[in-house]
Amino acid sequence: MTSSEISDYSSIRLMRMAGFSFLGLAIIFVVLEIIVVFFGELSYLSIITSLLLSLSVVILVLSLRKVALQTPSIRRNVIIASSWLIGYIFLTIISETFFVFLILQVAAFVIGLISMLVRIISFTQLNNTFKRLSKIGYNLDSQIFLLYGWFAVLSTVALIVSVYTLNLTVIIAVVITTVVGEISLLFAVGYKLIQNSNAIKDIFEGVQKRFLDDRPELEDHENIVVEAVNLEKLFPVISGFFESIFSIERIKNTGRATAKYFSSIFSKERTKTIKELTREYFGKVFEEREKLFVHAVDDVSFRIHKRETFGLVGESGCGKSTTGLLLLYLLESTGGKIFFKGLDSSELSVRELKEVRRYIQIIFQNPYESLSPRFSILDIIAEPLRLLNIETDEAKIEEKVKEELESVGLIPAEDFIDRFPHELSGGQRQRVGVARAFILDPEFIVADEPVSMLDVSIRVGVLKIMRQLTLDRGTAFLFITHDLALARVMCDRIAVMYLGRIVEQGPTEELIQKPIHPYAKALIAGVPKPDPDAKRTEELPIIGEVPSGIDVPAGCRFNPRCPFAIDKCKIYDPKLEEVEENHLVACLRYKEINDM
């Protein structure tokens, strides 16, 4: 049993504990009510219940720790809910203390009422938490929390109103309804939680997991040009102001900023005026908001060999471009490593990195924007040569540029070198882009949707040239596209990405003829075919749209849309597994689905 499984179990236990503590709360409530009736000691009752209630919630939150709290927006919700809950306890204590003093009783009433409102806010947030949980694949009933929160408020109001009627029967009736209602709701919450934890436990016990921790070393190690290992890139997203008021991050930042503010005000060698410092301080406090993250690339590993074209395909927003930028060292990864010819990029100095970059080139998507309009074609293609001082002799540069132009099919080259980009058509411009990428004889080229802006009739020409050049010069090529049909003609191997992960990776023909992962199957079935008899499947296998990279579903990321998803998919995050030689799939059920 791996460590992750153990913590999954402990979370089930915790959820069950939370359920029991809610049940216990209900029983304590009964006892307390009896005490109140017989001894008339009201003030401690509320304090104790509020503390117990919070304790139950804390346990519940802990039970969510393993899976749910890793989802940033859920974490945020829980933090907000807990903050309000703390406020609720605080207010209850104040209001109950005030009750002791006759003069302060009105204030106590008001504060008591406010505390109830705070409680409902807190419970609304809890409810939101559960809603989000169900969005990422948890099936938990959340309405019960909301009901409970509202009930608490209504019952308090009813109590206060009934006290003013001075009619004993009314008061007693209201008190009884309130108490019975509250107790039964507490029971319901507790029961639900226990039920849920039981359901999850059942799933666990039915699971037999075979994960591959280490992938076997490939034999042709020498040939690997680029290797990505557990690459990760998170993009921070700024959240709303009010949503982040209670975030821990924010409190930390404010504390830090305050400390810095005072220390700089009192320090002797102060360089700024107090006014400037104050402005800076408030700027920091109000602008630092809690950060959510988009999981653009999450634990992606692959190898690209010499002379190989590796394709990254997937729907928009799945992290293809981000992966490309990471490999180009144009973005800094938040985790994982990139090896270029065995060199770990994180260990290279700035100078060495610059040296390495020379061997890595990019072909952009948009040929209309990527070429500087004021440079002639000669200057555009020669730019890398000149920039890196590789060639200084102008005659030789021109010679080389001409050669390159001819190799991309812009013949005769003399006709083109003096033109400007606006005098070329889209296809010709993209050829210029290709020529520029190849002029330094790079080891590795990233092409991000290189032909998606081009017309079908001129696409083929550009594609053919790219394919020819990679083969002739032994360049490793990363081809990013959302068009599987294009990937098929261009790539030797393809990786299908979904929500920042690679879900299937294998030799092109094998993957396209016989996809194994449900998402890859759907993607391939979804590709339109230029043949009126081969209609796309009338019934589309998958429904809905890609979830945002912020609320990444727990368990298998594809589970909310997967037609084969079962309960265990909501818990286990499948790792890439080698199912056939060089064919990796991340799915828990691939065997059953494919009769393997």
């Binding site: 001129i458 083929v460 098929r488």
Partner: protein
């Protein structure tokens, strides 16, 4: 009987550097319940053809010649005799005295009631042109109100909800703002907007081009279902032949402002006549069947200000003959359509 017939349509854009012959002598027919696919590479005049049908060509464009015969045109004339201000000033043929069905002779006021009510269009790239500050439902309601101002507010809203559900958008999303919808949903909303007035003909300009494959398949499926349900006639513009293969019955291929081939989709896909159609179909990589090598058409599309003489495809055509660059081929009839190529004209003559 064709519902819509375009005859010898010519639309030019008069620019300083010369006239762009964006649509040059284009003819086709559209039957009731028929889906016509209009394909061709970027800039060949697909959008311009359809804007001409709607008569929404703006300066510097001008419809030079041609006829656009719309079968139900008389409905408009009796239905809507009101004169617009412009009509009254210029004393245009407000009552359509000639009683022709040619939309090009209709007044602006009459055209206005044709647009949306009878022929509606989903514009290219309109997905990003939805008004960001109005709810999607309200934007559709607005369109509805233009043509049915007497409709009660509640009734109109019900109708909006109805149409949104037909295109597969949940009714609760009607109150969302465009930025809250995904691309696929926006595109569905636009289709709803085009359908809300029960038109006879819907023209969809690149309706799924910017979408992901799976969303694309979803939208196309919804479109196809709607088309069947309402027995709509549609013109589907796209440069993607696979999209056309999926939803259309008739295929029209444009090249450099000309309709080079027009006819039954299945026949043409199996056995394209025109060399350009052949090349275009071959240039499409496919995911089905055995892997085949890419076919490169070669060359680049021409500048429409000075198109090549004779057959406009001749500089890129692998089967070009001496006559091709000298004389323009005329339309040779094939099954349900025609092809404009010397290869077949010669054959015809020999018979």
């Amino acid at each position: 009987m064709a519902l819509l017939e375009v005859k010898n349509l010519k639309t030019y854009f008069h620019t300083r550097a010369g006239s762009v012959k964006a649509v040059d002598n284009v003819s086709f027919k559209l039957g009731k319940g028929e889906v016509l696919g209009l394909a061709g590479e970027s800039g060949c005049g697909k959008t311009t053809t359809c804007l001409s049908i709607m008569q929404m060509i703006d300066f510097p464009g001008e419809i030079m010649e041609g006829q656009i015969i719309y079968e139900n045109a008389f409905e408009v004339i009796t239905e809507n005799p009101s004169k617009s201000f412009r009509d009254r000033i210029f004393n245009r043929n407000v009552e359509n005295k000639k009683r022709t069905k040619n939309l090009l002779e209709f007044s602006e006021a009459e055209m206005r009631s044709i647009r949306g009510n009878h022929i509606s269009m989903v514009f290219q790239g309109a997905m990003n042109a939805l008004n960001p500050v109005h709810r999607v439902g309200n934007q559709i309601q607005e369109v509805l109100n233009i043509h049915e101002p007497e409709l009660e507010k509640d009734e109109a809203w019900d109708k909006v909800i109805d149409i949104l559900e037909t295109v597969g958008i949940d009714s609760v999303r009607a109150r969302d703002y465009p930025h809250q919808l995904s691309g696929g949903m926006k595109q569905r909303a636009l289709i709803a907007m085009a359908l809300v007035n029960n038109p006879d003909i819907v023209i969809a300009d690149e309706p799924v081009t910017a979408l992901d494959v799976i969303v694309q398949a979803q939208v196309l499926k919804a479109t196809k279902e709607l088309q069947r349900k309402f027995d709509l006639s549609m013109i589907m513009i796209t440069h993607d032949l696979s999209v056309i293969a999926e939803v259309c019955e008739t295929l029209a291929i444009m090249y450099a402002g000309k309709l080079v081939e027009y006819g039954d989709l299945r026949t043409l896909f199996k056995e394209p006549f025109h060399p350009y159609t052949q090349a275009l179909i071959n240039a499409f990589p496919s995911i089905a069947g055995p892997k085949k090598d890419l076919y490169d058409i070669g060359g680049f599309p021409p500048d429409l200000r000075n198109p090549p003489s004779g057959c406009r495809f001749h500089p890129r055509c692998s089967k070009a003959m001496p006559i091709c660059s000298k004389k323009e081929p005329s339309n040779t009839p094939i099954k349900n359509g025609y092809v404009a190529c010397w290869l077949y004209e010669e054959e015809e003559k020999r018979k």
